[in-house]
Symmetry: C2
């Protein structure tokens, strides 16, 4: 679906799907299965109505408040090349409840996540991290779960900062319901967001899909506590694949809730051990320095590019700038494709615009 | 002094010094200052007498029980090239109290060291590490101090294993005296060792000098707890410079006694986070696999060689073996020098003997 929208734009894609013009059988089967006899127009109306009642809004990529950082998901063909479906593509839209501009709230943001069955130690560390991050003007993002997630949201609210809960269900369906009061306060003082429309259930597979947005929308992710063989390893893999800063808080080796953290620190040399908000700030870099290249440098980032982006990047001259039209000719791609890829390469910090032309980003150029 | 003994042998060096034949003024001043009006022959007699009364013995490099691993200190010109004095040279001798053969006891040994002001957490982790190491037949080496050192010795004795206390004073002068009972038990069930003769005081500078023996005599060193800006960083630098395995136990980020450990893990990516005896065993490798090359590989070990050793190593052919005489001719060094350097290169695992000839060690050869 994401590829269709990239190709034709959202309105034209919608028209085609409503007219049951499908590019292939796989798309047909997938769309018809999801529709399940629903009338799409009716469903859209109900949903918009529901959203309006909640005071929720829908944000799409062309909106000013779209968080551009999530588009870098499009640059990645994560570990398993067969699985480049929606779970690694940017969301098509985000439903939002709360007063902040979404992009602004996420601009300087760190995710703080961890075990649902957190300990007093983990909660205490989370509180201190969140307070320190708020003090330096950072937004704290988490997943709204029990344990570390809830502690991160609560501490951020208590410190008077902005917290964003990224949900795996509709922004009207607080899950877990034990956190309903917390979600209410987040919608008043921070942001509740979801890529699924109001009314959507917290289906199991949505949590993994949601996790990619937490990783992509933030400058880095801190895991505070994690049990052995927990989801933390998958979270960190994604964070690192997206060239975000992966951070881990150690704990007593005698605590089951720190075993996963120590496993991560032992197995992922590119994860950073952090003990305080200052360590986190040092790791993510100060204002304007974030989205810094991974320790392995820009050439590694380029390895992760899809084929079209790589062709575009290769066609940019090592010095000086080039017009997009000339770039398209050099790369052997349509101007439309080149422009689309350029936005993504720009988000990833690999190219920059100069007076309407395109040049390699200073940092990318400086590296070998 | 070490260089003189290497050059002339110990008896000839002693004769010369007694006859006040000094190679240079620096040596003259240093020897006369240390002698301080003492009669050297008388001093030697008193010391040997004292040692005999204690049941202590002196072990020198030509003895079978000499722990060959400490000779690798000779290969290093640590960080500060101006300071290549006794604090980075192998000891000339080791005074020993206890029933074990020194070399045998140290063959499969790990150092477990840490804060004097250890916490209950640190002591508990130390006990569990020591028990696990003993269970797998490893010797636990430490420095006999309060806190983690004492916990390591005690747990090893309690587990029925061999523990070696490396002292910064004579083996008859237990320091700190609060550990006197512990030292007694170590001399009965393990080994008390020192490079200073019986009667020597625990002078402040001797602790740093002593630390290099703990690092060199063991396969790896574990730091269990350390305060901020403690000596742990220096200890780990030396361990890594000697290509030993540097290991660190994390702890609660809220504990002052783990701050130094987390500093180490953050600043030394070549230090390994360990949470259990199994992690330690994995890091030091199983029997016969220890003294493994550092993560940065053999070419890095070679960088640390002194000039003569490097010349000898370069002259060894990439395939097959070579006679020491031919090696001397190729390297442009005397046969005596070549033989001395070869023993050190052999200890470091870079060359091996084959039927009286010399070849590159299989591991060193396999690496790029």
């Amino acid at each position: 679906m994401w590829a269709l929208v990239q190709e034709h734009g959202a309105p034209a894609t919608l028209e085609r799907l409503l007219a049951e013009e499908f590019p292939d059988d796989a798309t047909r089967n997938s769309v018809l299965a999801k529709r399940k006899g629903l009338d799409p127009r009716r469903f859209a109306e109900t949903t918009m109505h529901r959203a309006a009642r909640l005071g929720a809004r829908i944000v799409v990529p062309s909106d000013d408040e779209w968080p551009g950082r999530v588009d870098s998901l499009a640059l990645l063909e994560l570990e398993a090349p067969g699985r480049i479906n929606r779970d690694v593509r940017p969301p098509l839209c985000v439903w939002v409840r709360g007063g902040w501009q979404l992009g602004e709230a996420l601009d300087r943001s760190v995710a703080v996540v961890g075990a649902r069955a957190s300990t007093g130690y983990g909660n205490q560390v989370t509180y201190e991290l969140a307070y320190g991050l708020v003090e330096h003007g950072w937004t704290v993002v988490s997943g709204g779960a029990f344990g570390i997630d809830a502690a991160a949201h609560r501490a951020t609210l208590a410190a008077g900062g902005c917290t964003v809960a990224v949900l795996a269900c509709g922004v009207d369906r607080p899950y877990p319901s034990g956190n309903a009061g917390l979600f209410e306060r987040i919608s008043e003082k921070g942001l509740l967001i979801s890529e699924w429309p109001p009314g959507s259930e917290p289906l199991r597979h949505r949590f993994l899909i949601r996790n990619r947005v937490i990783a992509a929308a933030t400058v880095g992710t801190v895991v505070v506590e994690a049990a052995a063989r927990s989801g933390a390893a998958q979270t960190m893999s994604r964070v690192l694949a997206l060239r975000r800063t992966a951070m881990v808080v150690p704990g007593p080796v005698t605590s089951a809730m720190s075993v996963g953290c120590h496993e991560l620190l032992r197995s992922r040399p590119d994860a950073t051990l952090v003990t305080s908000a200052l360590d986190v700030l040092e790791a993510v870099g100060r204002m304007g320095e974030y989205d810094q290249p991974s320790p392995r440098g820009p050439e590694h980032r380029r390895d992760a590019l899809d084929e079209e982006s790589a062709l575009v990047l290769e066609a940019v001259p090592p010095r000086g700038s080039i017009a997009p039209e000339e770039l398209a000719a050099r790369a052997g791609l349509t101007l439309r494709t080149v422009l689309r890829r350029l936005s993504l390469l720009e988000v990833a910090g690999l190219v920059e615009r100069r007076d309407g032309e395109v040049a390699l980003a200073r940092r990318a150029k400086a590296a070998p």
